[in-house]
């Protein structure tokens, strides 16, 4: 692309928000600058009701290579700077979960270290067959300790340990078997598949997705009984929304629902 911005965005069909990591010559690294731009962007769309789904893409051939190691090196004389980098990155990753919109990682290329963490932090992930996933920190003496927080909450421990200890690239097919991603597709069908799933999601009641997505991650960290108390309350409130009343009514009357937004 002809821009020198490291982060691009555009709206498709009025409600699909496409974010593009755009520093391809450096393999789209999660520099502090990019992290802060992503944070700013997420914060700015959090309350935008027109946006119903977020796509996280990249200008190829990489998806995201993780932290910018030259930057990490330049920060290494200051614990404060390093700590700030990892905390800002963690905050940005957690913000993905707090967004009301579903966030879909659209991976075409390598997703390594914090780049792999980014994929893990999204709600849904789709990847081309030739994409790779990796936690290579062990190869440079800097274990992928923050990336593993997100990834180990999506895949089971033996698979995670294999990735962390060997630092090996794993294929998209294996990443799907690990449950790190949802779908693997031929490159020629990549955009069609992304649009297909986006189109499905934008037709849902955004009000209910907003309620449900936040509740999902909240209840996941609760013991069972507390999770049920919490979600019983959530469903009771959800049923008071216009969308739920309309949706239930439409279902009973066997007609299509009309959502508020």
């Amino acid at each position: 692309m002809s821009t020198n911005k490291i982060l691009l965005n555009k709206i498709i069909k009025g409600s699909i928000f496409e974010i593009i990591l755009n520093n391809p010559s450096k393999r789209n690294p999660l520099s502090l600058e990019l992290i802060l731009e992503l944070q700013h962007l997420f914060d700015s769309i959090k309350r935008n009701k027109k946006i119903k789904v977020i796509l996280l893409k990249s200008t190829g051939p990489s998806f995201c290579s993780g932290h910018d190691l030259k930057e990490v090196k330049s920060f290494s004389s200051s614990n404060k700077k390093l700590s700030n980098l990892f905390k800002k990155c963690s905050k940005m990753m957690m913000t993905i979960r707090e967004l009301p919109q579903p966030v879909i990682a659209c991976v075409d290329g390598i997703a390594a270290a914090a780049g792999c963490q980014l994929v893990a932090s999204c709600d849904i992930a789709i990847a081309t067959k030739t994409s790779f996933f990796q936690t290579p920190g062990v190869n440079i003496g800097l274990f992928c300790s923050t990336p593993m927080v997100a990834i180990s909450r999506k895949v089971l421990p033996k698979d995670m340990m294999y990735m962390l200890l060997t630092g090996e690239k794993i294929s998209a097919k294996l990443a799907k078997d690990y449950k790190l991603i949802n779908l693997v597709t031929e490159k020629k069908h990549f955009h069609k598949k992304i649009l297909a799933i986006s189109n499905k999601l934008i037709k849902k009641s955004f009000e209910s997705i907003k309620i449900g997505k936040i509740a999902f991650y909240n209840q996941l960290e609760m013991p069972l009984e507390k999770a049920y108390d919490y979600t019983s309350m959530v469903m009771t409130k959800n049923m008071q929304t216009k969308d739920a009343k309309e949706g239930v009514e439409a279902f009973i009357k066997k007609r299509a629902p009309n959502w508020t937004v």
Copy 2:
């Protein structure tokens, strides 16, 4: 069947307790009435030592479609009624875990929303090849927030999110890949498979299953060290039972054990 009861039950072979959801024309919905009947039934067999395994079946073609939406609608003017419905349902689901007997979901047909939660709440699940699983709340503006509590404790988050956000039906084969169910079978082998696994379970020491099943779900929510302290105590007590003494003795002497019940 010629009855108008929405819940049937019978004992097979003296120790297999078969529960049948029996409101097929309405797709066996989890109405408050059915929830309370299930609760009552579970409570009544909790201490029945003759019952060694519980099968949860349905009068087809559906397994269970979730809450009765007409009822949900009729409750929607009262937060108290709605909240009571979801709490009673949650309590019934948790009771399945607290039963000493293994509960096997025998799914032939659609298991949707709270119906899918019911499958997730059972200890083991077997389904016919043509069965489907779904969390379709997002399609009617009422996110499957209570169902996801049970399901997200059985499957990994990316798979769960895909189900919740798309509201799509997933096949029995995919549900097995998700680890929501254990076995998929041709319809013609369905009853044979259910009997085969039931027959295996009723030959085990019920005393040890009772101890182990409760301990399993308890330890699952503990940090590792506490879980080991707890289960070390459980095994010590277990070893004091007649069945364990008999079982260990029989194993050493290479003979079949004679259980207390």
Copy 3:
């Protein structure tokens, strides 16, 4: 082998520590003696920086059959002795996680009960195609309550319950599908595969593996936000190590790194 020691060990290539369960006629049971010997051995190598990877093997045809039931029986008149056995065993299992070195279970034969727990407790597991995994306590009236602590933290609940309730042997292929193990191999390639993965691991920065492995299991039990706070601190400290500085430098300069040990 010509020794009568129940636990053997040797160093391969200067940094691979091979531990061999060596009581084949009794199927390598985890007697209190073996548990204490393993504990002692683990404690003695914990601070040995020459050892970079630990292999847990067996003298065949069994890997490990679990507790010694004759011993369990002899302890059964004393709750104190039984409790001590299970606690010492649990402690030994937890020590595997606390070792700085990656521990690879190399399974060729049956891994049952506490033997299966041993496999689950290792960081990585590789098994021959003909190996089997089993939690057979239910068959002798003594539910596998301590083994399930380790196993249920590696596999999903429905799979775990199937193993626990049926007591059935599951194949290496199925154990891989359950994510209990990482790799299944033909027996003729077993040692080659073990060496291949060991050789990969010993070339990594041991300093970073040490930091990362401990952090991995610690963060796994924390809620998300706390896990990020913790690992942000871990990565900051990690970046101050000689290995990380060297590794990052080498990566930027596109040369091979020279680790401290």
